[in-house]
């Protein structure tokens, strides 16, 4: 069954994502930036749902929006300095950065314009109803080793974060 009003939702969600992204890099107050980033993340979760990837969408919501962003907000509140907001927000090389970014964007546009033919327009009809089960099968069969490595990475990250953030007792 074809989802209803696909273009409408696509444009809405993409607009939200891009606007959120713009706000992230322009807001003076880091908390506002973080909230904009949450908007982007949620819009992306919606896009994943439209791409028949419900599991990734769920992980996006629970891990990104509900986990990582809370961490960000926590840290922002810990280091939130009034003084910081009054300072110059962009560094001295902002012009160079902007030029580099524009060049990168142009590159993308060129690649997409040239390579449009490369992307086949056939859509693999992935059965949404079985998405989670299929992801699980792939994850625990073909990508078992990577999965274990990822868990190790997380462990290292936990220890690293604790070591970094722990108060030194002199």
């Amino acid at each position: 069954m074809e989802p209803v009003a696909t273009p409408f939702f696509f444009y809405l969600l993409s607009a939200l994502a891009v606007v959120g992204g713009v706000l992230v890099i322009t807001r003076r107050n880091p908390v506002h930036s973080a909230l904009s980033l949450i908007l982007t993340l949620l819009a992306l979760a919606g896009l994943y749902l439209m791409l028949y990837a419900p599991f990734v969408a769920g992980v996006q919501i629970i891990l990104y929006a509900g986990g990582i962003m809370v961490l960000f907000l926590f840290v922002i509140m810990l280091v939130n300095l009034e003084r910081n907001q009054k300072e110059e927000q962009f560094n001295k090389t902002w012009l160079v950065g902007l030029v580099a970014a524009v060049a990168l964007g142009t590159l993308f546009v060129i690649v997409y314009a040239k390579g449009q033919a490369l992307f086949p327009e056939r859509l693999a009809q992935l059965p949404e109803a079985q998405n989670t089960q299929q992801v699980a099968v792939l994850l625990y069969r073909d990508y078992m080793f990577s999965f274990e490595i990822a868990s190790l990475l997380l462990l290292v990250a936990i220890i690293g974060a604790v070591v970094m953030a722990k108060k030194r007792i002199d």
Binding site: P7, F10, S14, A17, V18, G21, V22, V24, I25, P30, S33, A34, L44, L47, Y48, L51, A53, F55, V56, V59, Q60, Y64, I68, L71, F72, V75, L78, V79, N84, E87, E88, Q89, F90, K92, T93, G97, A100, A101, L104, F108, Y112, Q116, F119, P120, E121, A124, L126, L138, Y143, S146, A150, L153, L154, V156, A157, I158, G160, V163, M164, A165
Partner: protein
Amino acid sequence: MVPITTLHYLVVAACLFVLGVVGVLTRRNVVIILMSIELILNAVNLNLVAFSRLYGLHGQIFAIFVITDAAAEAAVGLGILIAFFRNKETVNVDEVDLLKW
């Protein structure tokens, strides 16, 4: 209306990617730089998931790994940030000009 194709998603991803790059290159606040990196990772994720519709589920698996990675990166990055802030009372990157203090 034009039907939504994979290319549409790729364009959105490209926009987010460029925004992330601009953020990393121009902002001074470390927290916002870290958030811009998250933007870049998300752009990549969108690409992966969009392609997974064409080439099978592997893209989604990669997206999940990227999210895992992002969690680890955020944890360590913010840990460093706190340690740094505790010593220097600032969160601006261009003031990180000493290797030791």
